[in-house]
Each structure stands twice: as C-alpha cells, then as structure tokens.
C-alpha cells in the first residue's frame, strides 16, 4: 500500500465459517438436490450433458428446450418427443476457488463468500455421488471429497484457504473431468484465460463474485482506486461513476459471451448477497 493512502476496506485473506454454517450448508445442499431432482423429472436437466444418463422419452411440452427434442424418435411418431436425462451417479466434478489476493477484498470478503458457495456446491455434488475435487489456484492446494470421507474435513480444508499474491494473473487450466465450476472474481481475465480455464467438452459454470463496492462504488474526489495485487492505482472521482458502470456491465457481457461460446454458464454475484439466493440462482438449470 503506497504511503499516504488510507485503506477504506479491510483485506480479509482467510476463511472462517460461523458456527452452524455446516448445518446450514448441508440443509441448503439438500434443498438444491431436491430441486434438481424435480427439474430432472420435468426433463429440463438435459443441459448438464455428458455424464448424465438417458432416462427415456416423453411428449414435448411448451417451455421445453428445443435442443432436447429427439428428432429421430419424433420422426417415427406424430408428435415431437424430448429426451429425459437423469443425473449420472458418480462421475468427477472439479471446483476451483480463486485464492488470489484480490479475493481478500471486502467486506464481505470475496474469498469467504466463495468458500461458502464452494462448500454448498461440493456437498451438492457429493450427494449425487460424484467424486469432488476442490482446488485453490494460484496455490497448489487440493482437496478430494470422496464418498467415504468425513464431511467435516471439507470445511476444515476450506478454512485453510488464504488469499495469496497472484503469481500468475488469470485463470489456470483444469484437468478433464465430468463437470467443472469456477468461483472467483475473474479480475483481469481475458478471452484466452477463459478458453484455458474451460476444459473442452466439459460442462462448466463460472460464478464471478465481486465486493459490493466493486459493483456500486462510493467515491469522492480524493479516492484512488488500487489493485492490491499489483499495487497499481488509478484516480477515481464521481465523474467516472457512470462510465465505470458501463464498463463493468460490458465486462460482464464479455465474460458471459466467452463462457457461453464454450458451452458454459456465467453468473455474477455480490459478496453481500444472501448465500441461499446465489446458490439457487447459480445451480438452477
């Protein structure tokens, strides 16, 4: 931090779960699992793609995704039919939690919120029988949640995460797996970073978490916006707020487009949003 500046925000580089969070996360994961099961029965879960099992055909109903139509089977009958898929039991799911220093920005700290979401998503995958692997780039930390492993170890591992200086900007690549999830702020990520992060042929989703002041900043003439990772700064000022909002929205569209091009989904959330809302919105088919 350059001398002569006042931090308006705390850097909160560690993760600490509140007492009772584990029960809350497990309940939320159970709720989401039930919700997904209902969606599967509705036949709307096709999009999870590879790794899901074919469960049968049913008549097309308004609202069904046209891409779910089984054109071969439909050609044999009079009405269009859609494929019903069931989440495959087992498989492998990777969850990457960005642990670069920028994730320490808050409050609420982005890393803390990312860890909470990762816990819920890991439990959700674990309940579906998947082999869940959590990683925390740019560190080499890794945790594998197997069917036989105690759930408590997941929370303990998440609490060991610390936001570090970014040794390498951008996103690192993930190994081939059945499903992948990125949780981070995607600070400075470019199109090629997104391409590298998204394993080809693997369904994946990305959740961008920003601190409240990164989405709706309150600044005055004396504000200097700085990047704690690089130490670089740029003078803010109320006169650029509108342009900043436009630039932020343009960036959201760019990331969403890049992920969509590779078959992935992208969402943005504030670290101040309720955990339940974000998880429901993110997991929703």
């Amino acid at each position: 931090m350059p001398f002569g500046m006042e931090h308006d925000l705390e850097l909160l580089p560690t993760v600490r779960f509140a007492s009772g969070f584990r029960a809350r996360a497990e309940a939320l994961a159970t709720k989401l699992a039930r919700s997904r099961a209902t969606s599967e029965n509705d036949g709307r879960s096709w999009s999870f793609g590879a790794g899901d099992d074919f469960a049968g055909l049913r008549a097309y109903r308004p609202g069904d995704d046209p891409r779910a139509i089984d054109w071969t089977a439909s050609a044999r009958g009079d009405a269009p039919l859609v494929r019903m898929l069931r989440r495959a039991r087992g498989g492998s799911e990777w969850i990457a939690i960005d642990s670069s220093l920028s994730m320490a920005i808050g409050p609420p700290a982005k890393l803390q919120f990312a860890a909470e979401i990762a816990a819920v998503l890991a439990l959700l995958a674990w309940k579906s029988g998947a082999l869940v692997t959590l990683v925390a780039p740019p560190t080499r930390a890794r945790f594998v949640l197997t069917r036989s492993r105690a759930i408590g170890a997941l929370f303990e591992w998440l609490e060991t995460l610390v936001a570090h200086d970014a040794l390498e900007r951008g996103m690192s690549s993930l190994p081939r797996c059945d499903r992948a999830t990125w949780i981070g702020d995607f600070a400075g990520s470019r199109a090629e970073d997104v391409a590298r992060a998204a394993p080809r042929g693997v369904p994946f989703r990305a959740l961008q978490i920003l601190a409240p002041h990164e989405i709706a900043p309150h600044i005055d003439d004396s504000t200097r916006v700085i990047d704690p990772e690089s130490g670089e700064g740029i003078d803010g000022g109320p006169e650029v707020l509108a342009e900043h909002a436009h630039a932020l929205e343009a960036r959201r569209r760019t990331l969403a487009h890049e992920f969509a091009r590779r078959g992935g989904r992208f969402a943005r959330a504030s670290s101040a949003e309720p955990l339940e809302n974000v998880c429901v919105r993110f997991v929703r088919p």
Binding site: P2, G4, L9, S102, M103, A187, T223, R224, D235, H244
Partner: protein
C-alpha cells in the same frame, strides 16, 4: 506588548505528540484508497470520461482536528502558560515632597534618585515608566511628564503601590519598607534653610538650631483678585485668612510669594443661583461652568457644584470661579469652609521647606522590586485542561457520528 512564557517550558516538547499525530492523520487522509480486484473497468471509465485527474487530498476530519486541538490544550496546560511583558517594565512612583527638590551634590535628591533608578533598570534590563506619587494613575514615559503639576505625596500613595514591578523613587529609606515594591533612596545630607514664615520674618534652620531672620519673609500676593467685586464676601474672608496666617500683602519693596491665584470663567451673568457647601449657602451670579477637560485645568477638582455645572473648582495654587457668591447665610461656616480650602491649596513659598524635610536622608540605597507577576492565575491552567477534555469529547462524538 504581551508575550507568552511558560513555567514548565520542557513540557512543550510534548507538543511533538499532536504534531506527529497531525502529520500522520494528514498522510492517512491525503487520499483514500479503494481496493478493487480489477482496474480495467476503471481504466476504461477514465479513458472515456476524459483526461486523467489526480485525486485531491481530503481535508483532515473534524474528529482528528478536535483530537489534535485537545492534545495541544493539554500540553499547554502542563507547560503552565503565563503572559508577561515582552520587555519587563518597572513603574517608578515619584516622591513629590519638597525634600526631593533639596540640593544634593550639585543637583537635587530627585535627580540623584532618578539616576539611581535608571542605573538599576539597566542592571536588570528593564524599561521604566513614571508616575507621580499623589494618588494619580497617569503613567508617563519621563519623570518630567509625570511631575507636571504639583501635589503632595502621602504615605498612603506609596503604600498603594507596594506591588511587584513598582519602584519607589524617594530620598530616605522608607521607615516601613515595601514588601513587593523596590525603592531607590537617594540619601543626602541635611540642607539648611528656611523652614517657616512668621509675618515679615523667616525662620531658618542652621543644622542645629532655629534662627529668626527678620524682614526676610516675602510679601504675599493673591493673583486675579481684580476680577472679583471689591469687598465681596470672598474677599473679606480672604483678608481675614491672610491676617490669621501672618501674611503681609506684598508690595514692590519685597519679594512676592503667590500662594494661589483666582480665575473667573465666563463673563455674562446667566442668572442667580443658590449654592453652597459645608453648611453654608449663598445666592450669586452664575457665569457658566468651570471646564475641567483642558490640559491647563489638570489638577482642578470641583468644589461647589449645581447640578452638572461646576461653579467653583480648586487645585494646588488655583481657584476657578464660574459663580460669584453673594452674602452667605448667617454663621461662621462660610469663613471656615473657605479658609480650609485656602490652607489646602496654598503653595509654599520658594525656599521654605519643613524642618523634617530638611534633615539628612541617610545613605543611598537601591532595592529592585519583585518581578512583575503577569502570570495567569494558576487556575487558568485547569481552564486549558477543561478545554482539552471538552475537545476530546467533541473528537469522540465526531468520530462516533
């Protein structure tokens, strides 16, 4: 000119604490840093909004200013501030008794005492101001200006100036030495000469005994009597007083002494006015009002008044009339009242000094006064301490708000 001094100047070194805090607060609040993960949207916003602009420093917060002010007050309270004259000054109170005019070593006792006072002031590196010891409060820059006019010194006047920073200028060591004031006593040998008049004779003191010098007394002349009506009640009383005091009306053959003179203010009568004092009253023509605001009227005090008008005023050697009394009410009060005034204002003839005044004044001696204590009362420090506490509370409330 007032300067600030401190009883515990070392405590001022603690001022470094608020100064350092102020510098730190200033640096902390110079600019406010907002940490973000991605600078790119900001760069884009800055590019599209125009030229880069430097963040303007924020002013220090009210809480930090109040906290620093509180600390400054606390440190000043510890240091014990007091105001004092930038250049210390002594006020010289001049003895105006006749003995001060007696000859001493080719000069006078007064001149000798003044020289001693100036030497003492140089020794202590102080300035001097001067005032005559006759109850006045006019302070002059020179002894001559202070002595302008005549008057009589009383012990009460010196006693009233027994304060730090006061220097009594006299000839003999005071029998009751001052506690706080200093003094300069010129000393001086006995001075022979006339001590009183009796009719046409003068009584001299030769150092051991009294000698009557016949026909040596000066004649007496009351100035300005022409302006009054002959054989007026005033003139009749005056003649009686001159006779009672053995004064001989002066003529060309004798030296003349003028104990006092009479002045009449105004010319045109403005009507009859009944006035009086000391149990008598008389009706007389009012000519106006005696003015007391001019320099030449300095030393006059009202003696007979009517409402806001001063009808008769008197001072050493002078009586001013703006009213001419007619026949007074019956009784001796009129004569007694005027005679008392004549005794009070009459000047001594030149060279006539009382025997007590002529005696030797002893050895010369000087003692510096106690330092003028212009310090704020001690309890003013707690005012600063209270201010510090109030400011600290203000800082806390401003911080919490």
């Amino acid at each position: 000119m007032i300067a600030l001094a401190f009883e515990q100047p070392l405590a001022l070194s603690l001022l470094a604490v608020p100064i350092v805090l102020l510098v730190i607060a200033r640096r902390r609040t110079a600019t406010r840093a907002l940490a973000v993960g991605d600078l790119e949207p900001w760069r884009e916003a800055r590019r599209t909004s125009g030229a880069p602009r430097a963040a303007r420093p924020r002013p220090p917060t009210l809480a930090s200013l109040l906290a620093v002010a509180s600390l400054v007050c606390a440190v000043l309270a510890l240091a014990g501030p007091r105001s004092e004259l930038a250049q210390p000054r002594w006020t010289c109170v001049l003895d105006t008794t006749a003995s001060m005019d007696l000859e001493f070593a080719g000069s006078t006792r007064r001149a000798r005492a003044i020289d001693m006072a100036r030497a003492l002031a140089r020794e202590h590196d102080v300035d001097l101001a001067w005032m005559a010891a006759r109850g006045g409060r006019t302070v002059a820059s020179t002894p001559e200006a202070a002595l302008d006019g005549t008057g009589v010194t009383t012990d009460d006047t010196f006693a009233a100036w027994d304060v730090p920073g006061a220097l009594w200028i006299t000839d003999a060591i005071p029998s009751d030495p001052p506690r706080y004031a200093g003094f300069v006593a010129s000393g001086g040998p006995a001075v022979h000469g006339g001590i009183a008049l009796e009719g046409r004779d003068r009584i001299d003191w030769d150092g051991e005994r009294l000698v009557v010098v016949t026909d040596a007394a000066p004649g007496v002349l009351i100035g300005g009597l022409d302006a009054l009506s002959p054989r007026s009640p005033f003139e009749r009383v005056l003649a009686a007083w001159l006779g009672a005091r053995g004064h001989v009306t002066g003529d060309d053959s004798l030296p003349v002494h003028v104990p006092f003179s009479v002045h009449v203010s105004g010319e045109s009568p403005k009507g009859e006015v009944l006035a009086g004092r000391d149990g008598w009253n008389a009706s007389g023509q009012r000519l106006g009002s005696v003015r007391l605001d001019r320099d030449e009227d300095r030393g006059l005090t009202p003696w007979i008044t009517a409402g806001d008008d001063v009808l008769v005023a008197a001072g050493p050697g002078r009586i001013h009339f703006a009213w001419l009394p007619g026949e007074p009410s019956a009784g001796p009060e009129f004569a007694v009242s005027w005679a008392r005034l004549f005794d009070e204002i009459a000047l001594q003839p030149f060279g006539i000094v009382s025997l007590d005044e002529r005696r030797a004044a002893g050895e010369a001696r000087s003692e510096a006064p106690a330092a003028p204590d212009h310090a704020l009362p001690t309890n003013n420090a707690w005012i600063l301490a209270m201010s510090a506490a109030v400011l600290a509370l203000g800082a806390i409330s401003a911080r919490l708000r």
